[in-house]
């Protein structure tokens, strides 16, 4: 921490908080101001020349230790005492509108010998204070809730209190520091916008594609209700304006069936602003979610039970928050969801806009759907303003060769032959005079997709008709359905024609992943030539090769 960094948080309290201040600094790297003296918080708030009002300070956090505030215990006159304190806070708030006052609730233990049938003044005083804070409209630091969740025995330390006028245990202090920082993030508006959820073993137990709707674990009571509670936590976030999305590897139909048919689903299809249930990599689906919602990747939180999926997203999209999922015990899931809500989605206050946001995005989605229903695919593709650059690969750039090899290794769906090549293989092909290697890179108005397509063609040897065979044609599934493949093939055909080729053979080798491109050559106007079961299918196109229509701005 640099010495000249200025304080952004001020801590005020009726007890010793220097130790808490240091703890906050250690946890966050921020600098914390504590005024000199003990229990001077009222005077500081009323003093116009207090150090509190220096410009660097954004948040003034007032931590009140209930028992020290009412040292003679809670008696029937508590309202008068507490009203005086809230008066001081209100005045400070009115005079210093540039600061955010963050005020704690009061944790007041009940009197040990309280008659069982009498009204509980401690509870009433806490409630009264809470309602005063609500009237003021200040953000609240719920110290009482923190103490209740931790247990007073562990949250406080009698020894620290008597020795240093510091009521909290080390653990209590740490929790309080984290809570203050959480509030501070909310004050600064660092709230995530969208929660991306997996389905199987996250929103229900089991795999719906295998177990069927009746076989998944989800109930309103007892076993299976842990998943209902997970859904309720997500639903609550949606009601607070957090956008929900799905990224699930499933057949879409299977994935949506529980939403339509299962009696205990809390979440409905319309709670989600985006549903990506297909076999595309989650990384690309998550990117698409951010792009389609026009929010940054750093606004997303991704929850998935699979460590592999989490790792993939973490390494490919480091901006996305990927909390660790509690493994091996689904009873811990609802608590995990509460933690996620607390960590990433705390808002300072709920704006009306927040509450409407899900509805807004949904309307937008519907509008988009309606628009898509009327406009032609061509219009839509044209609206993407795609720019495609197709180029021959040379030996001069090792990095290009590495990417080409990587594409052959990783691409499964849009891969006509699924031949895996190493960098050395690719380099050898480029060196070999009879092989041509092309790559294509794509950009559109939403962003840069990078190098997404690879084509390898071999020219025929010897006498006879000058022909070429497309050994490899693959494309990243992120850019499927946009006519990119047509445009790339058009470039390749033109280039081969330029070398005098009069017949091009397209090859298809079936795998259990590349079903989507089974009809590719047929669609491209190639004619079936040979079909050798187990070997592959060869298609052929003879010159002249017609120009291929495209909605892309093409450079090749």
């Amino acid at each position: 921490m640099s010495e000249n960094m200025s304080e952004t948080i001020a801590l005020l309290s009726n007890v010793t908080v220097e130790s808490l201040a240091r703890r906050i600094e250690k946890e966050s790297g921020l600098k914390v101001f504590t005024p000199p003296g003990f229990d001077t918080w009222r005077a500081e708030l009323l003093n116009p020349s207090s150090g509190l009002w220096r410009s660097s300070i954004q948040t003034i956090c007032v931590i009140l230790h209930g028992p020290a505030l009412l040292p003679n215990g809670v008696d029937a006159g508590f309202a008068k005492d507490l009203a005086e304190l809230s008066g001081i806070l209100s005045r400070a708030q009115a005079e210093h509108k540039d600061k955010v006052l963050l005020v704690s609730t009061l944790d007041l233990p009940s009197s040990p010998a309280r008659p069982l049938a009498e009204r509980n003044l401690s509870v009433q005083a806490s409630a009264y204070w809470q309602s005063e804070l609500e009237k003021m409209g200040v953000p609240v630091l719920d110290l009482a809730e923190l103490a209740a969740e931790t247990g007073r025995e562990r949250f406080y330390s009698a020894k620290m209190w008597y020795f240093g006028s510091l009521p909290f245990s080390r653990q209590g202090e740490l929790l309080l520091a984290q809570e203050i920082l959480r509030a501070e993030r909310a004050v600064r508006g660092e709230r995530k916008k969208c929660l991306v959820l997996d389905l199987d073993n996250t929103l229900w137990g089991g795999v719906v594609g295998e177990d069927g709707v009746a076989g998944i674990d989800l109930a309103s009571f007892g076993m299976g209700s842990q998943y209902r509670d997970v859904q309720r936590a997500a639903k609550e976030l949606a009601q607070q304006g957090v956008l929900l999305a799905i990224a699930s590897k499933n057949n879409r139909e299977d994935a949506l069936r529980p939403f339509k048919e299962h009696p205990h689903m809390v979440l409905k299809e319309e709670d989600f602003v985006k549903i990506k249930a297909d076999w595309n990599p989650k990384v690309s689906n998550i990117e698409a979610i951010a792009r389609e919602l026009s929010i940054g990747l750093d606004s997303l939180v991704f929850i998935d039970d699979s460590p592999l999926e989490r790792e993939a997203v973490k390494s490919a999209l480091p901006e996305v928050a990927v909390p660790d999922f509690p493994d091996g015990d689904s009873s811990r899931l609802p608590g995990f969801m509460r933690q996620v809500a607390r960590t990433y989605f705390t808002a300072l206050r709920l704006g009306e806009e927040d509450l409407r946001k899900t509805e807004m995005y949904r309307t937008e989605a519907r509008r988009e759907a309606a628009r898509s229903a009327h406009i032609s695919l061509d219009d839509y593709l044209a609206s993407l303003e795609m720019k495609l650059n197709v180029y021959r690969l040379g030996l001069d750039r090792a990095e290009e060769i590495a990417r080409a090899a990587q594409l052959t290794q990783k691409t499964n769906q849009f891969n006509l032959t699924t031949r895996r090549y190493t960098e050395a293989d690719i380099a050898a092909m480029i060196r070999d005079g009879r092989t041509r290697v092309w790559m294509a890179e794509l950009r559109d108005r939403f962003g840069d997709y990078g190098r997404i397509c690879l084509v390898i063609a071999r020219l025929s040897d010897g006498p006879g008709e000058p022909a070429a065979t497309i050994d490899t044609f693959l494309m990243s599934c992120r850019v499927m359905g946009r006519g990119v493949e047509d445009a790339v093939l058009g470039c390749v055909e033109r280039s081969l024609a330029g070398e005098g080729v009069t017949a091009i053979r397209g090859e298809y080798r079936e795998t259990n992943k590349n079903e989507p491109v089974r009809e590719f050559w047929d669609k491209m106007g190639y004619e079936l030539e040979t079909n050798v079961p187990g070997e592959g299918v060869l298609w052929i196109l003879r010159a002249p090769f017609n120009e291929r229509r495209t909605k892309l701005c093409l450079n090749c």
Partner: protein
């Protein structure tokens, strides 16, 4: 004992030995003493309230701290 020295080193922000004291460790003030007692408390070493004010050195802490059962 090693555990105690580790805790002290962490809280005081510098490696301490049995010979360390408020006189030769920079920044060891009453706030630090308080944080030391808190940390020891959490690790299961109790120092009676009556002894805390007497703490002037690592040796004091070692003699006052009692491993809680």
């Amino acid at each position: 004992m090693e555990n105690i020295l580790d805790i002290l080193s962490e809280v005081l922000g510098t490696s301490v030995s049995e010979d360390s004291s408020v006189d030769n460790v920079a920044g060891w003030d009453s706030l630090k003493t308080l944080q030391v007692v808190m940390a020891l408390d959490e690790a299961g070493y109790e120092i009676p309230l009556e002894k805390i004010a007497e703490i002037k050195s690592v040796r004091d802490i070692l003699s006052f701290a009692v491993k809680a059962q």
